[in-house]
Amino acid sequence: MKILLIGNQNVGKSSIFYRLTGVHVVISNYPGSTVEYKEGTAKIGNKEAQIVDVPGMYSLEATSKAENVAIEMLNLNHSDLIINVVDATNLERNLNLTLQLLEKNVPVIVALNFGDEALHKGIVIDLKKLSEILAVPVISTVAATGEGIKDLVNNIPKAKAHRLQYSESERWAKVGKIIKQVQTITGKKHSFFEKIQDLSIKPLTGIPIAFLVMLSTFSLVRFIGESLIAYVFEPFFNLLLPLYTKISAALSDQHLIHDIIIGKLVNGEIDFVQSMGLLTTGLFVPFAMVLPYVFAFYLALGILEDSGYLPRLATLVDNLMHKIGMHGLAIVPMLLGLGCNVPAAMSTRILESKRQRFIAGTVMAIAVPCSAQLAMIFGLIGSDIKAMTIFFSTLFIVAVGLGFILNKIMKGKTPETFLEIPPYRLPRLKNLAKKMSMKIRGFLTEAVPYVLLGVLFVNILFVTGAVEFIGNIFAPVIVNILGLPKEAVASLIVGFLRKDVAVGMLLPLDLSIKQLIVAGVVLTMYFPCIATFMVLFKELGIRLMFLSILIMISSTLIVGGILNLIL
């Protein structure tokens, strides 16, 4: 049995999906957080059913790529049942889709979600009557807490298929009639959230609030990241040092193995960042330098996502984003990119046009460093405020400049914003914890092996003399244009695999602050890591990907060259 979860955007489909299947999916409070359909299984009665979480849609006529995926799913696959998730606080609009679904001759059951919020807003819905009129079961749910889910499952066998036929105006007329019969609105109380809702979206108050939010987010990330490093992870690795020293001594006459396991000694001692051994740098970089920031970043992002602030931010920057070929919602891939470029590249799908997805994907891949890379940059030049300022403003100027140019030379126009602003919701600790544990598990299982591979790869590059060889080929570019030593080529090669390891490799080169800035900027811009590349390639196609790469390489040379000249 195949069950589709269908509903407007941001009505809680993913929450219900999680409740039904136990499969962890990303749940956030902004429209379009699900861009891909997700599948899981659930026990319905005593049979196993396949549950599909479909990206949200307002109507069965697609207006964006994500919606298209949803509608294709609906037509292509024979589904046995539809769970139509309906937002009780917006019943009228949601019912329009419900009636459309009732035209499809597929059994439908309605999950009336956010019942608690509706009650707060003074909205009372007569479930029994609604169910009678629609002639399908209507179950009240609060997906975030799991309320009503059992009831929903128990009523699935009662779902009914209909073959209604309405024109659009007939449908709305019918919706209007239903609303009159089932919904009563009593005096509306303004909650605290509703009051700040307006303030944070009006330009005069919203822009200062946005600065405050971004500043405190950034400070929170740095504070948590740095504290974790200083008080948890560094002390832990210092405890390991005696053990490592013993291993190092035991391997002292096995040069090759010593170099791979422990790495090179710096001034006769193990250096966790520079030694480049599997047990030293291979573990220290991902755990003691990157993980703390990954944790801190996703905590902050999770709060932003779940509170409902992101669409407001998107609205506030919409006018500026239009100047660089995107609309406000493109701020989402940019922010996600600061965590990891991979999901960011995927999230460009919330943008409607190919042109916009290309500009957003390219700008993100070039100018947005991921948390792993940022963590290492903080480690390298974090104490030098001037260097950090130059680093970030360079990338900011690159993002704006590149977007501006692409917007000017590419055919087509940026579609206008049309975005639902969800109500503010208090982030739920449980959901936050779940999202964080997903991200961290992803980091441990996907990033850490690549870091180890990267470190091993570094050793191979040096032992085989490949660095020397490739370095000589690219020396004119690296030395003359970028002003870096030719050994930096090793870092650029490893950067394809892991940008954090690549940044770490700059340390033994004894670079000046100026060179560190140039190298940091170049490592961010020149090419995405392999994982991001694969996703971008899939999203953009071969022609646009090729174009994107050309832009990456040429802009890196220009910007790196300029920095080298003026700093």
């Binding site: 109507s59 006529e61 009228e92 889709l97 998107a314 609205t315 506030l316 006018n319 206008e416 602003i421």
Partner: protein
Amino acid sequence: MNELNLISLKNGEKAEIINLNAGLNLNQKLSSLNLRPGKIIKKIATHPLKGPIIISVDNTTISLGRGMAEQIFLKKIT
């Protein structure tokens, strides 16, 4: 005639939608978010530099571009 479009409506004012004139596709898009003739909307804010316009309809807050706003015709409620 007191018919005006969403651009000319002042922030904080309420109006009833009389007509959508944004082309079939866009009309449909607007309708699916419940912006359709007969509905009462409130304009919340206008963003500078040709930025979006924020309105609310029932319990939904919507941010939409000026091109669309131009094509939403309203009758002021006094």
